[in-house]
Subunit: 243 residues, 2 copies
DNA sequence: GTCCGCCGGTCTGTTGACAATCTGACGCAT
DNA sequence: ATGCGTCAGATTGTCAACAGACCGGCGGAC
């Protein structure tokens, strides 16, 4: 991020809104990592504002859960441990089930065709092992579903949860887990939506998220096993790893 | 609320936190109603602070969804129309299902007995038509369930939704609807929890919320019908009511 | 050698003042 | 009478400075 950081986000109206968007962006693209301290003076100088708007932006982000404010100590980028990440997946599973239910109750044929189009595109990308194309389409697919649910509260909470997952320490594991995603799950979701079966659509979407949760767990376990192996080979005399 | 408004909430550490709690309190007890403007100078003078902390508190409450900030116009207490209230109920139904699922997977016998105790207390209060005792117990029952789910994310989102429902214009209708609540639903919830049946517990809790949603809808319909009747008798020559 | 208390620097918490914007009303022209 | 441009008052947006809290290092006592 450069000195024109706020200029690019010029559509916020107030400085506070732009600063808030800028900090959120810094967190999302990894410039600010979990546990980092948000220094008011440093950041306000960088954005070319005073500390007032910056403090207001931090307050909002803290309420949103992206930052943590400790009185007289400052604000820090929140850090999500494995337990919390799994909690988020559980909540997402519940919201996804609702999403499927709502969508199946109100889609029209054109929307179903659009969803099939996205699934087909993902199939083609997957066949070519083209992850650069698979990811954005996958993202669009889920955004489209979220929009089709037509429930603003659901949309806000869901987007918040997605943002929160960016705070997971080993974010790489999330992508590693979703890499092995089965597009077949997506197709089943659309099929149950096409059948206008709210129960089935809800179950499909819930299962989809819970499967992702399990993939994350598996990836964490795999990494842990590998770490232990590495540690044992490089320092074989050590019997116990740090807990 | 008096001039000691912040003194009673003295445990917030920073002024901002106390102001935030105070404003939230004002919204919850109805002193600030939906659509009301939050004047920075007026409120800051009332709390004995400057505008800085007050603005930060409003930022946080806006992010939480209790206030709405319009650039260069100020912040206003958010107003929930019927459509939005129903949306909230839908989301709550999903979260409650998750809650039931999680609880049934991890309760112990003592906790089940405690839940039965609360249901019994509600039965006794209902038998005596003692709503003053029924309400707090009902609240405690649901808070207890929320705690038993042991999922902080779920707890935060759920409490947020409950707060948001206070912004519904005709809040009275909510209570009117829950007055006819069947404690039998509560007992069924506990029974399925006691049976350690996650599916059944989830369904029971989801149904409980959706039933409340239907009761709200019915109350709104009843009120609307009565309004039309009154309007027709008092001004019978008018054929069309204002939309 | 270790622990305790002091102290300077740094950062946050808060404030009051200045600049920009909006609201509502007044007066004028049509 | 109605509509429009203008203006004063009020309110929000932003800033720079002051006060207080926390952190780390230093020196002395045991």
């Amino acid at each position: 991020m450069n000195d024109d950081a706020l200029g690019r986000l010029g559509d916020g109206g107030s400085l506070t809104n732009r600063v808030q968007a800028a900090i959120e962006e810094m967190i999302m693209n990894g410039e600010l990592r979990g546990g980092d301290k948000v220094n008011e003076i440093t950041l306000s100088e960088r954005f070319g504002t005073s500390r007032g708007p910056l403090r207001e932006a931090c307050r909002a982000l803290a309420q949103e859960g992206l930052l943590v404010a400790i009185p007289n100590r400052g604000v820090f980028v929140r850090e999500l441990d494995l337990r919390e990440a799994l909690e988020v997946y559980d909540v997402r599973s519940a919201l996804d089930e609702l999403m499927g239910r709502l969508i199946a109750e109100r889609v029209d044929d054109a929307q179903v065709r659009e969803l099939y189009g996205l699934v087909d595109a993902m199939d083609r990308a997957a066949a070519e092992r083209d992850l650069e194309r698979y990811y954005p389409t996958n993202l669009e697919f889920h955004n489209r579903l979220l929009a089709l649910a037509n429930n603003r509260r659901l949309q806000r909470l869901y987007k918040g949860l997605v943002k929160e997952l960016h705070l997971f320490r080993r974010k790489g594991l999330l992508q590693l887990g979703s890499m092995r995603i089965s597009n077949e799950e997506h197709r089943q979701i659309v099929q149950s939506i096409e059948a206008r079966d709210p129960i089935a659509a809800g179950v499909c979407m819930k299962s989809h998220v819970l499967a992702a949760k399990q993939r994350l767990l598996a990836a964490v376990e795999a990494e842990r096993a590998q770490e232990i192996t590495l540690a044992q080979t490089s320092a074989p005399r050590r019997r116990r790893q740090g807990t």
